[in-house]
Amino acid sequence: MERSLFARQPSVLVFIGLLALFTIVITILSEGFGLGIVSTSFIKILGKTLCLCLIAIAMDLVWGYCGILSLGHFAFFGLGGYMIGMWLMYERTKDIVIASLSGGELPATPEEITEAIGTQIFGVVGGAEIPVVWYFADSLFAQLLLVVLVPGLLALVFGWLAFRSRVTGVYLSILTQAMTLALSLYLFQNDSGLRGNNGLSGLQNIPGLTEVSQSVVSAWFFLASALALGLGYLVAAWVVSGKFGNVIRAIRDDEARIRFMGYPVEAYKLVVFTLTAVIAAIAGALYYPQAGIINPAEIAPIASIYLAVWVAIGGRGRLYGAVIGAATVSLLSSWFTGGQAPSIPLGFYTIDWVDWWQVLLGLGFVLVTLFAPKGIGGLFDRLVRKDAAS
């Protein structure tokens, strides 16, 4: 008898329940839909944090369960953001252009509209032509498909080449770093057609919904992010439970042995790598409309390294660990950069957190790695065991 997912993984039910409760409480407290206790800026931070939790789950799946230390998953996150950003930017500009051209004596021709959109979007970076990569930018459906297809295909091709050549361990990590660096450098160039260093901006303004206030839009995105995180968690839990999950864990623990037993290791790794890339891309597509801007600096190699650090801090090999890690670090960063942490005067020196928070985070990473190798999530294990023993 096959037992249900929840029976095999009771923590899934707990996580989904907590997430639902959290989402409902925040929505009730939000400015957009409820009491207005939680500010719109904080809703945006929470929504973005949920997206980071989602990519952390993807990271945990590929690293914590399958043993592939990918240091390039933010490339997929960023690509997802770029794909949705193109539609957001194109349609918003189109609305503005049509509104401003409607004052003319003759109705604007489609050519005039396209030309004006080009000048508007690319004028700031010294261009006027709409590049070929923007071909589908006027179709939300097409760009949503591309959110999944572009990063998915990149991961498939990259993974196929890397895994087929049996690149593993630290070499694979370096290769993934190279991939995200190359992509970032390519996008930095003006000629890549995605506005170079400037990236895509104003993404928080949803085309056709300009009358809707940001407090409502932010609440929608918060809910969508929570939903995506819940679904992502379910998918990940389903993947790691069952036989497939056993095989990928075995690949993590001893790849050669699994290969000798006749399992197509490369195929398994490729499936996990591509699936997690798609999850990362979806997280990115939800993240950047809340952040408002995407530019190539977002997919610099350091971003993907941070991602691995979050998962390490939260505790890899347990999905909720990834969520805890991502949420903790993201919320702490946000709090420290907000200038609200009180300075500590020591007499001879005043600790200003804006100067010191990164040092503190770094120390935190070191401490967790040294004294809690299983991360924050690992602390639960100890508590459970003590609980059971007493």
Binding site: T40, S100, G123, G196, N198, T337, Q340, D387
Partner: protein, 430 residues
């Protein structure tokens, strides 16, 4: 299992309530809040921290004079950490949670483009203190740095008229400021009768270090004996390698002069200037400006920040912007953004080079253009200074921008098409 669940709920609840409390702990005080939105960590920290300190110094001085409208000024300093999306997040936080009355901040164009939609949505007020590429005018932003016609065009004129340069190399880092500036300059040079083949344009990535080929190309440009000049919008570290390569190729400032728009006192301090001596920079302010008000400012700055610190152009822009805001608030009798925005236009404050800066209806300033020669001590010898030039939001040298005008007082539009007599859009293009 039950225990962990409870623990997790408790943990989540604790984290959550503490964050909410932190966010609602700010009650309305009897102060005027000034948001400071400059990166204090990350790649831009080295430049932007100076501006944060400048604002803090100005606030301290203003409070010593009794504040504004009888209220003390209170700085709210945040750290957008050189992370562009974080600029938008922090701007929203400053405006809605901390409820600041004005913000001083941003350095890079991309950070400004990141906060634009937020401040326009929430009707905030930002003073932006850095020279930029123009082609923008927001109702909610005052641009106290130079527009291209206040830095690039006069510097090019200096090359054409004073140095007799006939061939131009426009070298820049590959991002929006060099791209737009060079696009304007290329058109300007063509209008001045320079042939297209006498203009060499090249873009390099941030931190570029291999300059030998590009320098060779520049030298080759002058093979026929015509005088070559380099207009550099190269940003940051890349400059070191560029000037080094020039020196290595045996090129002196007399052979091929370089005028830079992104090299100032701050960038030169702590740098070996041997290879740079004699080359030029164009700004609206140099620390070496010999006027009493500047001497006073430098003295105060050194007392505030340290004896070895230098002053630079964006600091002067911050100084002008801050004083304009104070005057406008006092003239309007309120910190209300709409009233202050109207009151800022037309304000005049002394700049630090001996003339007056006036805020124009297009939210840009009148600024004198100074050309300085780099000295061995990292300071500039001022070789040319113009009368104040009015800043132009939309350049006259590109056909699609020449028809646009910005006037927030009479036309109430930042992007007015003078051909069709319509306002293209009220929000700025970001």
């Amino acid at each position: 299992m039950k225990f962990t669940t409870k623990l997790r709920i408790a943990g989540a609840a604790a984290l959550f309530t503490s964050t909410i409390l932190a966010h609602s702990a700010y009650a309305a005080d009897d102060t005027i809040k000034v948001g400071v939105l400059h990166s204090l960590s990350g790649t831009m920290a080295i430049s932007e921290t100076t501006l944060k300190d400048t604002v803090l110094m100005l606030i301290e001085q203003q409070n010593a004079k009794g504040g504004v409208l009888g209220k003390k000024l209170e700085a709210v300093v945040v750290d957008p950490a050189s992370d562009w999306p974080l600029f938008a997040e922090k701007a929203r936080e400053l405006l809605t949670v901390d409820k600041v009355d004005v913000m001083f901040g941003c350095w890079t164009s991309v950070s400004r483009k990141s906060v634009l939609p937020v401040i326009e949505e929430l009707n905030g007020l930002l003073f932006y203190p850095v020279q930029y590429e123009g082609e923008e005018s927001s109702k909610n932003v005052f641009y106290t740095g130079a527009a291209p016609n206040q830095q690039a065009i006069p510097a090019t004129d200096y090359f054409l008229e004073e140095l007799g340069v006939e061939k131009f190399a426009l070298l820049g880092t590959d991002y929006v400021y060099p791209r737009t500036t060079n696009k304007i300059l290329e058109q300007y040079l063509k209008d001045k009768g320079i042939a297209a083949e006498d203009i060499f344009v090249n873009y390099t990535p941030f931190g570029h270090s291999d300059w030998s080929k590009i320098v060779a190309d520049v030298v080759a440009l002058g093979a026929d004996g015509k005088k070559v000049g380099v207009i550099s919008t190269i940003n940051g570290d890349a400059n070191i390698g560029f000037y080094k390569e020039l020196a290595a190729a045996g090129i002196s400032a007399d052979d091929i002069p370089v005028v830079a728009f992104s090299v100032g006192e701050e960038e030169l301090s702590g740098l070996d200037t041997t290879n740079l001596v004699g080359h030029l920079a164009a700004w609206n302010y140099f620390q070496s400006a010999d006027v009493p008000v500047n001497a006073e400012f430098i003295k105060e700055w050194k007392a505030f920040a340290g004896e070895d610190r230098v002053t630079n152009d964006p600091m002067e822009a911050t100084y002008i912007g801050f004083n304009m805001w104070v005057q406008a608030v006092e003239a309007a009798g309120t910190t209300d953004v709409d009233k202050v925005t109207e009151a800022v236009v037309g304000q005049k404050v002394p700049n630090l080079t001996g003339t007056m800066a006036e805020m124009l209806p297009n939210h840009h300033l009148t600024k004198p253009v100074l050309i300085g020669e780099i000295q061995a001590d990292g300071q500039f010898d001022i070789v040319s200074q113009t009368e104040p030039v009015p800043g132009d939001a939309w350049t006259d040298f590109l056909p699609e921008s020449a028809v646009l005008e910005s006037d927030w007082i009479d036309l109430k539009c930042g992007m007015y098409n003078t051909d069709t007599k319509t306002c293209v859009q009220l929000n700025s293009n970001y």
